[in-house]
Every structure is written in C-alpha cells, then in structure tokens.
Amino acid sequence: MKKITIDPITRLEGHGKIEIFLDDKGNCARACLQIPELRGFEKFAEGRAAEEMPRITTMICGVCPTAHHIAATKTLDDLFKVEPTSAAKKIRELMYNAFQAEDHILHFVFLGGPDFIVGPSAPAAERNVLGVIGKVGLEAGGKVIEMRKRMRNVLRIIGGKPVMPTCGLPGGVSKQISEEERKTIIEAGEYGVEFCKFALQLFDDVVLKNKEYVDLVTGDVYSHKTYYMGLVDENNKVNFYDGQIRVVDPNGKEYVKFKVQNYLDHIREHVEPWTYVRFSYLKNIGWKGFVDGKESGVFRVAPLARLNASDGMATPLAQEAYEKMYKILGGKPVHSTLAFHWARLVEALSASERVLELAKDPEITSDDIVNLPTETPKEGMGVVEAPRGTLIHHYQTDERGVITKANLIVATQNNSAAINMSVEKAAKSLIKKGKVPEGILNMIEMAFRAYDPCHACATHSLTGRMPLEVNVYDFQGELVKTLTTME
C-alpha cells in the first residue's frame, strides 16, 4: 500500500501533518490529519489560583489569547457566582469584538485570501499575501496593516498588550477606559467598519465573478452535511461574547439550545491513538467515526457554523451581508466548507460594528468596573465564540478558589473531526488510480485552511500558504516522487 505524507516542514514542525493511504487500485483509502503537539493545560491548571487562569490560558495560543482570556474570565464569574457590572460586560465585549475583527481580517488577507482573491489555480508563487496585494493594489494593502494596527491598539488600551492581554477579574475588569481612549476606539471602529465593507465589496468583485471559485464553493468536493454550533443571543442572533449554545441539524433545524453550564449533557470527545488532538461530537447522537450526516455526532463550529446556527446578525450592515450570502448560496444551511471565508467577512463586519456601538455607549467609560465576589467558589463554566469556534472553560476548585480540576474544549478541537473529513474527501476526490496531480497540494490545503485551524499555528503562514511537501512511497517504502508547493 502506498502512503503519502504531507508535512508542513518536513517532519520537523510539531503543528500538523497529513498522511494519505492509497489502496491497491491507487485510490485514496484513508487520510489522517495528525496533530503532533500537546502541552497539557488541563493538567497544569491544577493547583493554580483560579483568578490566574485568564493569565495562564492565554498562553495556549498567542494568536487568539483574547479568546482564552475572556472565556477564563467568564468562567470566574460563574465560579465565584458574581455578576459583572454592566460597564465591565461592555468593556469585555468591546475588547472581544476588536479582537474578533482583527483576527478575521488577518485570515482574510494572509491566509484564506490568496485562495479566493488570487484564485485557487493561480501559480503557487502568486498565491500569497503579495499576490493579494498585487491584485487589490498597494493602497488596499496598506489599509490592511492599518486596520490590524488600530484594532490591536484597542486590545492594548484595554488589556495592556495585544499578545497576552490581561484585564479580566471575576465580576469585572481591572481597568477603566478614559474619555481620550474612547475616542481612539471609536476611530478604530469606524475604520474597521469601512474596511470590512471594502473587503466584502472586493469579495463581490473578485471572487463571485470568478466562476472557477464559485464552482468550487457550490460543488461537492468541499461539502459536508453536518450539525452546526454557535452562541446566540436571546433573538438567536450571532453573539461572540455571550449567550446560549445553539446547535442546528444538517437541515438547519434547531436540534438543541443550552447554557454552557449544561455542556456535559451535550458534548463528548473521542480519542484516537495517532494524534494528540481530541475529537468533539454530540453526545446524544454519538461518535460514528469520521462521517457526516444526521446520524453522525460530528458538528462544525467557526464562522459559517455560527451563521448556520443563528437566525442572523445583531448589527444592521452585517445582517444585510448575511442575507446576501445566503441568497446567493441558495438558502440555509450552507454546507460548503469554502463558504467559511465569506462568513468570516460577514462576522468581521459585525464585530467592527459592535466595537463602534459599544465605544459610543456612554457607559463604556464608567468607573463602576468590578463587583467583588462574596460567595465561596466551587465550580464554574464559561463560553465564548473564538474566531475558530465555540470555546469552553470549566474549572472546579477547593473553597480557597484553587483549581482542583480543569477541562477545556478548545475551538479547533470541535472542528477537528470535520477537518479530517474534509481533507480525506478532497484526497479521495482528487487522487485516482495512483495519480497524484500537482494541484492536489493546494486543493488539500484549501480544505483545512477554510477552517483557519489554530492547532496548526503553522497554517498562519504569512505568505498565505502552508509550505507542504507530498512524498509518494511505493510498497517497499521507497520514495518515488516528491511534490512541493515551492516551485
């Protein structure tokens, strides 16, 4: 049997590799995305003071530290049974939306952008951020740096620094926003809204007019009929910061809606011996393997899943963009993995609008930023929508508030079964009779890049493509062919 290895940097990097096995006819029999990386935060949380979790779990991911910071902070609210002040909730939500917007835009330009702006079959040498700038112009390229800088400055204002920010306390936040800082944040929000409008227009002009890409979006290679999960507010609108977890079935019908405190009734994880990542599934449907459909407990999270799981966006411009997306893609739910890119832009716009709304709220500069806890801590759970999906923290403590047990359901873990399925589906569609066409590299990259998976910070490639190498071995394990994305 032949084995094909797709390795981000030739067996060295600990952030993800793909193994593809061919059957005796030379067709793909199985594809596995392996995550050769584990740090074990669930264990080394034990013994820590609970209030330090927002400052420890940020180091799970330097790309999305704000997601862990806020998830941990909300878990402390629940743990200490303290309601944050109204202003504190708004400050947190403001920070969170600024983060959501800049992170989505980073993906749009640097990672996903090359696929859909430059085009999926453009030469590899052009399929990168420079290719994107070449296509959209230098002025637009400058706007991107400016957008990211301004939104990350909002994180700096509230949390001290954009990588590993800190402001969360049970019952509130540690720092008040000054009137002058508020002005800076309003400007960032305005810039963000304009930028996202521009980005959506660009998507219209460049992507939707590219038949090749539209065919891929609407075709079968990247489609999976799965359950979808996302946080919604009381009107079932997408909310990144708070709300209930809603799951819809592959037909788009609400399957269940629950509070994070009940997550154990609904989510389970499966372990495989060949990877360090765990695979989430819906407990009451069950683990049926790496398959889609209504009978399989596999669900998806992140932008498209959130939109599928909601009844719309909470902000006006994003709602328009949402309606347009579903109209063009033929109604809800959309199963195409590549539509994650579009949904990500709709969300970036929504997050920017929300930054602006909150920054203009007179209460945002209030000095009433924390309620001190009075209850004895025991157990708490918290949830946010990380850019890459639903993120849950769960702590148990002794009466001093020292962690005895911790559990973390990290966003990409929720998508990990689906990512594996997408990779396998792409491999099965493209590898026939032992032929491994050159184009498979980017086609497979596209299958998982749409999810913006965070276990592989390796996919946060500045050149907009993950360096890949495919080695084709014969029955004896002799290397017969090597393909790389670098030509």
């Binding site: 060295l12 584990l38 954009p162 402001c167 306390l169 154990l264 990877t275 500045l462």
Partner: protein
Amino acid sequence: MAKPKVAFYWCASCGGCEETVVDLNEDILKVADAVDIVLWPVALDFKRKDVEALKDGEIAVSFINGAVRLEEQEEMVKLLRQKSGLVIAFGACAHLGGIPGLGNFWDRDTIFQRVYKEVPTVENPKGIVPQEKTKIKEGELTLPEFYDTVKTVAQTVDVDYYLPGCPPPPDLIMKAVTAILKGELPEKGAVLAPNKALCDTCPRAESKPEKLSIAEIKRPWQIKLDPEKCFLAQGVICMGPATRTGCGETCIRANQPCRGCFGPVDGVVDQGAKALSMIASILGLEGEEKMTDEEVKKLIDGIVDPAGTFYRFSLASSLLRRKRME
C-alpha cells in the same frame, strides 16, 4: 556585501512570538530588507534539508522561541546551533521554560491520564492514549516522542543571548536586531533588556513605600484594585521586585500585577527563590514578634499557590527544575 542569514524557529510555543514579530508593523519590512531569512516556518517555506546544506556557522543568527518538549524540537535546536554564529533564546519559553514549563510539576503519563482519560467530556472506555506508532488498517502512523520534562533552549544547546518576555515587546526586538546588524552586542550570555527590576521603572514606583510590609495577602479579586498604587502596598502579590524590566510595564498599565515573564535581573540564579525571599521579608513586618504561630501560618496561607506564583514562567530553568520523578 551579502546580507546576514537569519533563522527564526519555534519549539513548544503558542505562536505569540510570531505575532509579536508581525506587530513590528512597518518595521518588519526594514528587517526583511536588511537580512536574508533562511528559515521561518510560520512565514516561509524552507526545509530542514536546506538548513542541513548550509556550512557550519553560516547562519549569522538563529532566534529560537518555545520550550523543548519533543524529540524533534531537540534535534532542530541542535542543528541550528551547529549552523549558527549566534543563538538567541527568544521569549519566555525559550529563555525560562515559560508556561509549558509548568508541565514539570508532572510527567508524561500523568498529563496523558488527565487529558485523554479523566476529563469529563472524554468517552474513552478502552483507555486509548496517543502512541508514537499506531497501526491502522491502511498502514502505520507515527507521532514524535513527548518528553517527561520541559527544557529551556539553554538546557539543550549553548545560548549566546536571551530576548525575554511573553512575548518580547517589538521595541526590544528592534533594538536587538539593530545591535546585531551593527555588531554592537554585549558580553555573551546577556539578556537583551535593561538590567533593572520592574519596580525601578514602574509607573507606580512613587507609591511604593520605603519600607514595605504586608499585613494580609489580598488576592486580585478580594479588593478594588487601586489603579495608581503599588500592588505590594495594596497587599497584592506582584513579581515586580524579582523581575527584570523592559516590558513597558504593560500588565501594570492594565491594572494587573506583574507575573514575572521577563525573568530575573543579572546575577539572580533562581527567580522564584528571589521572589519568595522578597515576600517573606515583607510579610507581617509590623508587629511580627507579637504574632502567634497560628497567625503567621494564616498570613502565609494567603499565598495559595506559591510554586505557581513565584515560578510561573521560570520553573524549568530554576534550581528546582521539575517535580522529582518517582
């Protein structure tokens, strides 16, 4: 003249050190212009074999972030050492072990037990844990070995300089790069940040009393944190006195106490021990002689997690290094 070759590599890390480089914004273009990057996995496609093909010492400088936890990380760090004139341990994990170093309170099996068998969401009746080799119907899959102990880069190879912080701030990165390009580097082994304690540059320095005394430890959620007053003077544990400055006091400015990510100043071997002795020397200073043993114990018990507080970032590099293996 040929541009100096530079490598940027990650081990057990989170991507935050890469983000902080991107946070150089426009300055990143200046750096890219002045050097020839031969390895940067997050951004550019160069392979191990390209590094192997270089002459020994041909890379002018390798910046290595992340702690060393997997077999393949150790191999790569050794290879980069061989090929590089200078090795710079970049960021708290490479420098001190960082947060992944907290894993040294346990070992591989205990971590696996928790992560794959115990957590309440895992459904794993057969007790499966990841294996270095797995046979599936279609063939064999391999994973790199997961070590019991997290090591720093300096515990793995000879290190020339350290860029501290979680993450190193962009201004210190630019200063270090400029110093390298101009050949104006300090003595080998130096930490490329000011040799002063955080307290010396803290915006709240003036509110730090001449003689500090803590009558009762306050956890950050037990009081309304004063945004201008020294944390220790409020009874809140702050690692400022035992931590090197250069971070821009970012956490303090967000009204949160220091947690020590920059490591100690020159000459201090063990940051945790230094912090512990500093706290011990100011705890219950007023009326110490009148306190009963019980009162002393109660006062000390206010620090609920001494190891995780004083060794938050430096456990792997400390004299303790790890919990004893049984």
